[in-house]
C-alpha cells in the first residue's frame, strides 16, 4: 500500500532578530490511506509546526527550509500558490486546537461553511446551504438549519468543534490534520468528539494525522504513532508496539511518567511517578548530538556528539537512538548559522 502522505527530514526554522531557532529539525512520518497516525510530543516538539508545514501554512518568521513532503505522489513543496490553495480545505483539511479561535466571530456558521463550498466547488448558495446542513447532521448536530443561522459565540465549545469538523469534511478530503482537537474540551465532550471522529473517518474512508500530547488519546485513536522530541523524530511504530514495547528512552519515560486512572496507587506505600529530570530544551540553543541526551538515563558521551538517524528495527518500527543501534551523524557546529533558504522553498505568507 503506498503512502498517502510522506514527510521526510522536514526542517522548519524560525528566523528571528536574535538568531535561528530550528523548531523542526528532521521529522519523518508517513500516513497510509484510511489510517490514523498519532504525532505525539510535548510543547517545543515541533508537532504543530510539522502539521502546518504539510499545508504550507507555516507562519513567518518560520520557514520550511528542508525535507520533502509528498502527497498522493506529488511534491507539495513544488506546487505553486494556486495549486496549494486548491488542495487546502478540499483534499487536505485541518481541524485546529481551539474552536473558539478558529471560527470567524462575525460571520454566521452558514456563511462560513458556504464560503468554503462556493470557493472550491462553485455551487449556488442554496446548494451550499443544503450541503452544509447535511454535514451538520452528519456530525450529530440536531436542527442544522437553525444552527446555520447562528454565530459562534452562541454555541458551546463542543458544538463549535463539531462545526469545525463539519467544515473540514465539506469537500470530502482524503486527509484530515487534527491538531489537539479536544484539548480545550471537557472530558465527556471529548469522548463524544473522539467517537465522532473515529466513526467519520471509517465511514468516509479518510486518513487522519492526529497531533497530541495525550498518550491516552492516541492510544485510543491511532493505528500508528510517531513520537517527536525537540524537533526530531524519536520513534515510529504501530500503536501496540509503542505502548507495550517502546524502544526509545523518551517514549519509555513519557509512558512511565504519565499517571494512569486505571492504576492502583492506593496500595502503594510511597506512590511516586518515574520522572524525566530537567526540562524541554530552549529551541534557540538546542543540545548537541541527540536532543534528548541531557535528560536521558542511558546517555553516553557519544550521544552528546552524534545525531542519531532513524533505523528500522522491525517492519514498521523505526527508532532514532544510538543506544538502540541507530547510526549517528556528526553535527556541524552548534548553531545553524549557514542556513541558506533555498529559493524554491520560500513559502511566504499563506496564500
Amino acid at each position: 500500500m503506498t503512502d498517502l502522505l510522506t514527510v521526510d527530514g522536514l526542517k522548519v526554522h524560525f528566523f528571528t532578530q536574535s538568531g535561528v531557532a530550528p523548531a523542526v529539525d528532521g521529522i519523518d512520518f508517513a500516513i497510509r490511506p484510511r489510517e490514523t497516525l498519532g504525532l505525539v510530543g510535548e510543547s517545543g516538539s515541533g508537532k504543530t509546526m510539522a502539521s502546518l508545514a504539510v499545508l504550507r501554512l507555516v507562519p513567518p518568521p518560520a520557514r520550511i527550509v528542508g525535507g520533502s513532503l509528498r502527497f498522493q505522489g506529488r511534491d507539495l513543496l513544488a506546487l505553486d500558490a494556486a495549486a496549494m490553495r486548491g488542495l487546502r480545505g478540499k483534499t487536505i483539511a485541518m481541524i485546529f486546537q481551539n474552536p473558539a479561535f478558529s471560527l470567524n466571530p462575525i460571520l454566521s456558521i452558514g456563511d462560513q461553511l458556504g464560503e468554503i463550498l462556493r470557493w472550491h466547488e462553485r455551487i449556488s448558495r442554496a446548494a451550499a446551504r443544503d450541503r452544509a446542513a447535511e454535514l451538520l447532521r452528519l456530525v450529530g448536530i440536531a436542527d442544522p438549519l437553525h444552527r446555520l443561522r447562528q454565530f459562534p459565540h452562541e454555541l458551546s465549545g463542543g458544538m463549535k468543534q463539531r462545526i469545525c469538523i463539519a467544515r473540514a469534511l465539506l469537500c470530502n478530503p482524503a486527509l484530515i490534520l487534527a491538531d489537539e482537537p479536544t484539548t480545550n474540551l471537557d472530558v465527556t465532550i471529548q469522548a463524544q468528539i473522539l467517537d465522532l471522529l473515529e466513526e467519520l473517518r471509517e465511514r468516509l474512508h479518510m486518513a487522519m494525522l492526529l497531533v497530541s500530547h495525550d498518550m491516552g488519546l492516541v492510544a485510543r485513536m491511532a493505528h500508528r504513532i510517531t513520537v517527536v522530541y525537540a524537533g526530531r523524530t524519536c520513534e515510529t511504530a504501530d500503536v501496540h508496539s509503542i505502548f507495550h514495547a517502546p524502544l526509545h528512552p523518551y517514549t519509555r519515560a513519557l509512558l512511565d511518567s504519565t499517571p494512569r486512572v486505571d492504576h492502583d496507587y492506593e496500595h502503594e506505600a510511597h506512590p511516586a511517578l518515574r520522572t524525566i529530570g530537567g526540562r524541554i530544551p530552549d529551541l534557540a540553543a538546542p543540545p548537541s548530538g541527540c536532543r534528548f541526551h541531557p535528560r536521558c538515563p542511558e546517555a553516553t558521551a557519544e550521544c552528546a556528539r552524534l545525531r542519531p538517524e532513524p533505523m528500522q528495527v522491525a517492519p514498521g518500527h523505526s527508532v532514532s537512538c544510538l543506544q538502540r543501534g541507530s547510526p549517528g551523524v556528526a553535527e556541524i557546529g552548534g548553531r545553524h548559522t549557514d542556513v541558506s533558504a533555498i529559493g524554491a522553498l520560500h513559502v511566504g505568507p499563506p496564500a
Partner: protein, 327 residues
C-alpha cells in the same frame, strides 16, 4: 481521624444582569456552588473533580474567602473562618490566612512579573512576621531548596523560569507561612507532561513530610487517582458522589461518575472499558432542569429523577451518594 476542615452548606450565587445606563437590572442567577457540604480529615488529600462549570474552583476560592460566599460556613479546627475573613480582627485574619493556603493553576499569572522570586517569597514573612527579619533570607533559601530550586534563584524574575519552576515557587510561597491546609487548584494542568510528574511527586512528598492536608482540584482523573485519598465529584454546583479513591475508581455508583471515568483516555490501546458516552451537553446554568440536574443526560433516569433532587446520603463503605437509581 479528626476532621480538620468542614464545609457546611456553602452557597455562591452570581446575579445575571442586563446592562443599563446606571447598573442594569438582575434578570436571573447562577448558583455556581449550590449547597455544598463536605469535610476533610487531617492529613488527608481530598480531590474535587468535575468538568468546567461544575463549581469546584469557586468552592475552593469561597472557602478561603478569595470569592465572597453568598452563605455557608467553613470550619477549620473549631473556628468558623468565613466570619473571621469578613471581620475586622486583623490578628485573627492573619492566623486564618496562615493556616489555609492556596496554590494557583497558572504558572504565568500567579507570580508578580515585576518582583524577583525573593521578593515574592519575602512577602509572606513581611505580612505575618512569624520569623524575625534576620532569619528571612535563610528561610527563603530553605524553602527554595525544599521545592527543588536553588537559593540563587531568589534574585531572578519569573519570566526567566519555566512553567514547572514557577509552580515550584508557587508551592514555596504557600509553604512560607507554614500552613496546615493547602488548596491545590489544578497545579499541573498547565504544565508539560514530562514536568507534571515532577510536581506531582513533589506534592505527594511534601504532604507526607510536612503533615499537610490537601484539597486537590482537577479535571484530570489520572492525577487525582495518583494523589488523592478521597474523591468528591461535582456536577453543576453540587456534589454527586464522595468516596475513598479506591472505591470510587473501581465501583462508581453515580452515573455521572461512571461516565466521567469511562471517558478518560487510558494509555493502553487494548483497554476498552465499557464506555458510557453521555448524550447531549450540560444544561445552561441559568436554566437548570428540575429534580436531579443530571437527569437530562443520565442513561438511567427514573420519573422521580425529574421531580425530586436526590440528597447526598451515606451509602456504605464511607461513601456519600446523591442518586435515586445508582448503578
Amino acid at each position: 481521624m479528626t476532621n480538620l476542615v468542614r464545609v457546611e452548606h456553602l452557597l455562591k450565587r452570581y446575579p445575571v444582569r442586563r446592562r443599563g445606563i446606571l447598573g442594569g437590572r438582575t434578570v436571573g442567577q447562577i448558583s455556581a456552588v449550590d449547597d455544598v457540604s463536605f469535610s476533610v480529615a487531617a492529613g488527608e488529600a481530598l480531590a474535587l473533580v468535575g468538568e468546567s462549570g461544575c463549581g469546584k474552583t469557586t468552592t475552593a476560592r469561597s472557602m478561603l474567602h478569595l470569592v465572597p460566599a453568598t452563605s455557608g460556613q467553613v470550619w477549620f479546627d473549631g473556628t468558623e473562618v468565613l466570619s473571621v475573613f469578613r471581620g475586622n480582627d486583623r490578628p485573627a485574619v492573619l492566623r486564618a490566612r496562615r493556616a489555609l493556603q492556596y496554590m494557583f493553576q497558572d504558572p504565568y499569572l500567579s507570580l508578580n512579573p515585576r518582583w524577583t522570586i525573593g521578593q515574592t517569597l519575602r512577602e509572606p514573612f513581611r505580612v505575618h512576621r512569624h520569623a524575625p527579619p534576620a532569619e528571612w533570607n535563610d528561610r527563603i533559601a530553605a524553602l527554595l531548596e525544599r521545592v527543588g530550586l536553588e537559593p540563587a534563584h531568589a534574585w531572578r524574575y519569573p519570566h526567566e523560569f519555566s512553567g514547572g519552576q514557577r509552580q515550584r515557587v508557587g508551592v514555596a510561597r504557600a509553604l512560607a507561612v507554614e500552613p496546615r491546609f493547602l488548596v491545590l487548584d489544578e497545579p499541573v494542568s498547565s504544565l508539560d507532561v514530562s514536568v507534571r510528574a515532577q510536581i506531582l511527586n513533589l506534592l505527594v512528598e511534601l504532604r507526607a513530610a510536612l503533615g499537610l492536608t490537601y484539597l486537590y482540584i482537577s479535571h484530570d482523573l489520572a492525577s487525582v487517582r495518583f494523589i488523592a485519598n478521597r474523591v468528591a465529584v461535582m456536577y453543576l454546583g453540587s456534589i454527586v458522589e464522595i468516596a475513598p479513591a479506591e472505591i470510587l475508581f473501581r465501583y462508581p455508583l453515580h452515573h455521572y461518575t461512571n461516565a466521567l471515568l469511562s471517558a478518560v483516555p487510558v494509555p493502553d490501546p487494548d483497554a476498552r472499558p465499557t464506555r458510557v458516552v453521555l448524550r447531549g451537553e450540560p444544561p445552561s446554568p441559568m436554566h437548570l432542569p428540575p429534580g436531579c440536574r443530571f437527569h437530562t443526560r443520565c442513561p438511567a433516569a427514573l420519573p422521580q429523577c425529574r421531580t425530586t433532587p436526590p440528597a447526598l446520603v451515606p451509602s456504605g463503605d464511607g461513601r456519600l451518594l446523591a442518586c435515586h437509581n445508582p448503578r
